[in-house]
């Protein structure tokens, strides 16, 4: 317990004072871990992310992110929000989108003055490095609306990485990607976590593409959350207790898990919750 936790939730609740979407959530994420936030649609997974970023205040409990209050360390956090597709009419290059991660919050315009040359070189190198890390060099110069969803997602991850964050937060980064792209992005995130020591917090509704890289999962439910290694949490006993309904966890021959059951989602979401 020498190093402080990357993310710590103690008895946290979210929602409105008379109507919690989830409550009694305790989570502790160690630095350098790869963590997935799982749960049925509408359970408040994105709210979890927004609390980590300080964009939404919890209604109860204590939250610490990178050992400070949420929102206070956002410069040390890379954030990739949900569902951002740039359509074909967006005539902005990928590299410009990446660069915004570095200087998009600065006022004024950069002037090509001689004494800022060293700094501009250094910033150009950082942008190029982030683009190389995610393997996007081949299409970074093209308008972002003209490249595929998987390629856009790589550039958005590069944007989140360009300031060398300690924590990378991604909301459904694999959503609406084809299966090969899902596998490739998952592998990329696993590599960033393992090689660069970046803590990765990822929201997903399908655990399988990322299962091999996960250190910890947080299963959100109306009443609380279950947190631990995938082997501890994704079990029939834990999930049945959490969702208060019989659930089954099946393991396929190729190492995938399938969760069968119908956890009650707060917004009347009656989908069978299948983690293929």
């Amino acid at each position: 317990m020498s190093t402080p936790a990357a993310i710590r939730f103690r008895g946290v609740a979210a929602g409105w004072h008379d109507h919690a979407i989830w409550e009694h959530v305790d989570v502790e994420v160690r630095p350098g871990e790869f963590v997935a936030v799982l749960g049925p649609n509408g359970v408040g997974k994105s709210t979890f992310v927004k609390i980590v970023l300080g964009l939404v205040a919890p209604t109860a409990g204590e939250v610490r992110v990178l050992d400070v209050a949420p929102g206070a360390a956002n410069r040390r956090i890379g954030y990739v929000p949900q569902r951002r597709n740039f359509d074909a009419s967006v005539r902005v290059r990928g590299i410009d989108i990446v660069r915004l991660g570095l200087d998009g919050d600065r006022w004024g315009v950069p002037l090509p003055l001689p004494w800022t040359r060293a700094r501009r070189r250094e910033e150009d190198a950082r942008v190029r490095r982030a683009i190389e890390t995610v393997g996007a060099s081949a299409f970074a110069e093209r308008p972002i609306g003209e490249i595929s969803g998987g390629e856009q997602q790589r550039l958005l991850i590069a944007q989140a990485l360009v300031r060398d964050p300690e924590l990378l937060v991604l909301d459904e980064p694999l959503d609406s990607l084809d299966l090969p792209s899902q596998a490739a992005i998952a592998a990329l995130l696993g590599r960033i976590c393992a090689e660069d020591g970046v803590t990765v917090l990822l929201v997903a509704h399908n655990v399988n593409p990322i299962l091999a890289y996960l250190d910890r999962v947080v299963y959100l439910a109306h009443g609380g959350a279950a947190s631990g290694t995938p082997a501890e949490v994704i079990t029939a006993a834990t999930l049945s207790r959490l969702y208060d309904t019989p659930m089954e966890v099946l393991h396929t021959a190729d190492g995938h898990v399938v969760v069968v059951g119908q956890p009650e989602a707060p917004h009347g979401d009656a989908h069978a919750h299948l983690l293929r």
Binding site: L53, L55, N74, R75, I77, Y79, V80, P81, R84, F86, V90, R91, V92, R93, D96, I97, L100, G101, D103, G104, D105, R106, W107, G108, V109, R142, P143, Q159, A160
Partner: protein, 271 residues
């Protein structure tokens, strides 16, 4: 022949005022196109017409009407958005209603003031004949103010425009920026209206920016190209209007449109 143009003070004024209007329209317009706020911009331009008509009726400077009413309109739009209807889609019906009312009131005011038809035409379709030296001074001050403001907010506004969620997480005040930008648009269309008229503001605000975004996906270069196009079509339009005695609104718009079509066709061919 071309130098004859500058023998008259009113032509010198027209060139200076036109150049200023072209530069700010192109810079601000690049963001308007990027943010897809052309409808809001059009409305702000249109409500300048009753403003100008009221000023003519009560004997105030016309520029005052052009600036004050769209400024108030921008504030009203910001206040409307503040109630949670953050995205532009919700406001289109309201804004469309206001547009219709603005045109009707403008027409009433023009009729009441017994202004001749050409005064109403100038308010709607532009004129380069009556630009006074005072107007040039006002335009210069407004233009410098707009350019300074735009260069201050250039990057955060770009960030908030293409990537609002991440920008907000990074602490970019995207709501305040959206409000500030709408006020800048109001000031810009007020300035540009005095050359192109309320209806043809888009000739300088949207067409050069849209053309530039066809030509390049680089932000800095895009703004620069938009400025070059806007200034070029303004100068060409002024010269043509002077020589051939055709309305300035028509010449500037036609040149800008022709360039847009040309670039579109060429970029199709290049693919």
């Amino acid at each position: 022949m071309i130098l004859d143009l500058f023998a008259y003070q009113f032509m010198v004024n027209a060139f200076i005022a036109g150049t200023i209007a072209a530069v700010i329209a192109a810079v601000v317009g690049w963001y308007v196109v990027l943010r897809r706020e052309t409808f809001a911009a059009h409305t702000l331009a249109l409500i300048g017409f009753p403003g100008a008509a009221a000023a003519a009726l009560f004997g105030w400077p016309v520029a005052l009407g052009y600036f004050v009413v769209p400024g108030l309109g921008a504030l009203a739009m910001v206040a409307g958005r503040g109630r949670g209807e953050a995205r532009a889609g919700v406001e289109t019906a309201t804004v469309g209603t206001i547009q219709a009312l603005a045109l009707a009131i403008g027409y009433l005011l023009v009729t009441l003031s017994h202004a001749n038809l050409s005064a109403a035409q100038a308010m709607l379709f532009g004129s380069f004949l009556g630009i006074t030296s005072t107007q040039v001074v006002v335009l210069t001050a407004v233009g410098v103010g707009i350019l300074v403001a735009m260069s201050c907010i250039a990057r955060p506004l770009f960030f908030a425009s293409v990537d609002a969620d991440v920008a907000e997480a990074r602490g970019v005040p995207s709501r305040a920026l959206a409000a500030a930008f709408l006020l800048i648009v109001a000031a810009t269309v007020a300035a540009v209206s005095q050359i192109t008229g309320a209806l043809l503001v888009f000739a300088l605000l949207v067409i050069p920016a849209a053309t530039a975004q066809r030509l390049t996906a680089r932000p800095g270069r895009g703004v620069a190209i938009a400025v070059v196009i806007a200034v070029a079509v303004t100068w060409a339009g002024l010269a043509t209007s002077y020589v051939a005695d055709v309305p300035i609104g028509f010449t500037v718009t036609s040149y800008a449109f022709a360039l847009f079509v040309l670039v579109r066709a060429l970029s199709r061919l290049a693919r």
